[in-house]
Subunit: 369 residues, 2 copies
């Protein structure tokens, strides 16, 4: 696979150790690869039905745990019926399995025997699960204040947890340093992760009878999912499978909204801002490394950003649970945003719920019990 | 819907309060309803693509949370590749959502405003989720020794938990008594629950390109899933969609194996036996009310039962996690049984994993950490 640097344009061939440009810029995969329509009828219902779009080498073995093809369902809510993509019904419990499956398949193909990653949340669980499936050793770097419960899933997959004194950024630096000797399976930096996230665009198009909603509302932390979705829709446009792509609406927590502020200010990338803790901890990303790509994706889609308050997120979490939808607060932030839309927009939108509430049973009980 | 009693042959029309025969026997739905092949291409990927098979009244509103169509995936294990149905990737985290969706749809249609159920495990979570989706009040009766953690999911859905002093059977009796005024949404007694479980037979047939494996290995507690699967395959045979049905292999824990013992003894139903606690608590059912139907289903399929030890279940749980498959110990019991099969049988089998490991994070950590 060939990547280019988004900052300086340098070109690279993917290796197990490559994750960003020497200049510090993030890498992109510039090609649009299209899956053949004629093949779909014969293929499994997983992200691998669209395998050509990920650009993996032809002889790359697929590391799969059954990811993709999550349900699209109608949820009756006080504001009306919400069309929701339950994208937490994935092997490790979040949408990140889509990216991890493609990334770990590539890294295993490139000879990785050990991967490192920094995340105590959904990405850490996803990378551990796929590393386990590939028979690759895995070390996850986390800040030392991470609650024990969040580390259990990683450890149960056989992943090693390395706790680092300091902030979330210190854990990221420790992972990047370790990556000089091991592979950095970074959901934030590695373009292969984003390529896997395209799969949801393709799925929505198939699930809706090859038509698309006019709005897609989803939580926005690092923004990889928005970048992946927009790329997926561009592939569909490029292939002539669709004529118009949906507008993407990225939802941040007011307490940590660097991308939202940059969008509102018309900036090309985020600036470092003061943040405070939010119950939507899955989107609490203070310094998203690919923010320029994310902001471009939102603007290219003719979309926008929103920021929701703690009380809106809490109320949305509670209301979803009480309609039988077991999503984590981070996911519920998207519903909180959907509630604010006009009724015409609500009827035209799909809301993506990204992380499983079962990962946060005690947190949810403390919050709402 | 018309039911007949399996013991005395009495006939009943379904009402919100009906759950068993006056003679104490369990009820069955005698008809084989077939879904039309021509409709499948147009229908959603959920259990409702096979809607005709559940026998619900035509104007019954479907209460759906996106259940069904769980992944079928190949898991690389020391014994070889295991074809696994990840049936815990369901809205409330277990296969029971298939039954609860159909049962609650029916009860809501019949006018239920309040349902009761006895289960602190997967069935309690499933019934609470679908009651919440339907806007129906829900009370779950559990023994007073049930760990708090298992009740959280029920409470978060808005279900009421009623703890009853005594044994599991005392909780069941309290639920049955409450059901004289409310509806008993029983996964053990109500035939509509079993009808929903047929959906997995149809899905496997579609997922495998309209062919079927020769063996299906799954955990066996009350046995409703085996009854539902066998019924589903009979529907497919009856419709002429298949010519041969798979053999069903029900797996119990050695410490609680009333159905296995009855099968081995050639008995028509289980006898009350001494049991002891097992880590596969989801299949620890001492007195399965429909055991005669379950034993008949196993025999009709030309299948058999197996019982696995605690150490086999523990080892199987650990091995699955370390290959990226996050199943609870009850599900892993099926893998423990698959390990014992001949290599020819292993290659021909599908293993159904029924419950999500995320529900039991602290238990898994205590067991394996």
């Amino acid at each position: 696979m060939e990547y280019t640097c988004a900052s300086c344009g340098a070109r690279y061939t993917a290796t197990a150790l490559l994750f960003r440009c020497r200049c510090g810029g993030y890498l992109e995969y510039p090609e649009y690869r299209v899956f053949p329509l004629s093949a779909l009828a014969e293929r499994d219902h997983s992200i691998w039905r669209y395998r050509e779009a990920y650009g993996l080498p032809r002889d790359c073995k697929r590391i799969s745990l059954g990811e993709g093809c999550s349900p699209l369902t109608r949820v009756s809510l006080p504001e009306g019926v919400m069309l929701a993509k339950l994208d937490y019904l994935q092997p490790s419990g979040s949408f990140k399995d889509r990216g991890a499956a493609v990334l770990i398949s590539l890294l295993a193909h490139l000879g990785a025997k050990h991967v490192v990653e920094d995340s105590s949340g959904n990405a850490g669980a996803a990378v551990s699960a796929y590393a386990a499936a590939a028979g690759i050793r895995c070390s996850i770097y986390t800040p030392d204040y991470t609650p024990e419960g969040k580390l259990s899933q990683i450890r149960l997959y056989g992943g090693e947890v390395r706790t680092i004194a300091g902030t979330r950024d210190d854990a990221a630096k420790a992972a990047a340093q370790a990556a000089q000797r091991s592979c950095y399976a970074s959901h934030l930096w590695n373009p292969a992760f984003v390529l896997g996230l395209q799969s949801t665009a393709f799925e929505l198009w198939e699930q809706l009878g090859e038509e698309l909603p006019s709005l897609i509302v989803l939580p926005l932390g690092s923004g990889g999912y928005i970048e992946g979705l927009q790329r997926g829709f561009e592939v569909l446009l490029h292939a002539g499978y669709i004529e118009e792509a949906p507008r993407l609406v990225g939802v941040q927590a007011e307490r940590c909204s660097p991308v939202h502020r940059a969008f509102e200010a018309g900036a090309e990338r985020h600036s470092e801002i003061e943040v405070s803790p939010t119950i939507a901890e899955g989107i609490a990303v203070q310094n998203p490394p690919r923010s320029a790509a994310v902001l471009k994706a939102i603007r290219d889609s003719n979309g926008y950003t929103m920021a929701v308050s703690e009380s809106e997120i809490q109320s949305a979490t509670e209301k979803l649970l009480q309609r039988g939808v077991f999503a984590e607060p981070t996911s519920a932030a998207a519903y909180a945003a959907w509630r604010r839309l006009s009724s015409a927009d609500r009827a035209e939108a799909i809301v993506i719920l990204t992380g499983h509430g079962l990962k946060q049973l005690s947190k949810l009980t403390a919050l709402l019990g």
